[in-house]
């Protein structure tokens, strides 16, 4: 009965129950989401897709449809070469014949337009589910060899 006098012990028990329920709900919805995506393969939506070769050439493919960013790139008719890293997704080696260069420290990265300017994409292009009307650009960026920071598109 002394146990009942300890409010922290009771609070811990209640929190433990809550944590188990919350984790179960999380697992359930994650499973439902992945199951749905794997069954319907995603819903293609139109996006504004651009490519900048960092040599003054920038092309836009507005209204390109795709469920993921990679889908959109293929739908836009781009020639994309990738290396698969399993569940991590695709790493883009070259687009339309322009390959990444270790000598020049340049590689492909994708950026999405926000109210504050270009924001670097946080995931592999085949894992990123695009939103309707989203503005995304692939930029052949210079990568700082020490910090690995990519130069954003102008």
């Amino acid at each position: 009965m002394a146990f009942l006098k300890n409010k922290w012990a009771l609070a811990t028990l209640v929190l433990l129950c809550w944590a188990i329920i919350a984790s179960s709900v999380l697992g359930y919805y994650y499973y439902q989401y992945t199951d749905l995506v794997s069954r319907i393969g995603g819903v293609p939506v139109p996006v504004n897709l651009g490519i900048d070769y960092a040599n003054g050439t920038r092309q836009w493919f507005n209204g390109t449809k795709g469920a993921t960013l990679y889908d959109s790139m293929i739908q836009a008719g781009w020639d994309v070469e990738v290396t698969s890293f399993g569940i991590m997704g695709y790493y883009v080696n070259s687009i339309n014949g322009v390959e990444e260069s270790t000598e020049e420290s340049k590689s492909w990265g994708w950026w999405t337009w926000t109210d504050y300017g270009w924001a670097h994409g946080g995931s592999a292009c085949d894992k990123y589910i695009v939103s309707t009307g989203e503005i995304i650009i692939w930029y052949y960026s210079y990568v700082d060899p020490t910090t690995f920071e990519m130069t954003p598109p102008p």
């Binding site: 009965m1 146990f3 009942l4 006098k5 009771l10 028990l13 209640v14 433990l16 129950c17 188990i20 329920i21 179960s24 709900v25 697992g27 359930y28 499973y31």
Partner: protein, 191 residues
Amino acid sequence: MDYLTRSKMNVRRVSIVAIFVALCVATNYALVGVPNIKVMDFIVFIGGFCFGPFIGALIGVLSWAVYGIINPYGFVLQVWLATMFSESIYGLLGGLLGKKFALASYDGNRLELSIFFGTMGFIPTLIYDLVTNFVYALAFGIPVFVAILTGTPFTILHEVSNVAIFGVSTVPVVTVLEKLLGGERVGVSKK
């Protein structure tokens, strides 16, 4: 006759087990239209709390032994065995807590006791649902994690309802049973 009164399973106790099992089966049928909300778990727990872990576990096993065979949702041998033995967890836990609380007074601790018994309703329910989902998955050849995840809404309903039932009802029901049966908690009267 002397043997019967000294034995762990004297006539009084056999009658109590029979009454509790009948209550479990009857309430399960009464709530058959409400999936996973059952008073049965609480009755088994109370049986263990008042009459010890052995009687509690026995009530759990026998309740499912009867209800499982005439279960309107169907009969699957593996699931039936799993539910029978998982249900006994409520009786065992009730029995262990009954020993712990045998000489305790409930006065002045009602809120703390309600919270405590609520969580004590949650823990065996979680174990029960995990075990039965695991056996269900094996019986029907589906991946265990899929069975557990897809069963989550039912599991949560079961857990939350048991938290409410155990939390609200344990203290009043034990108090009333003590008055009716003369304070027979694990054979120890606190009076």
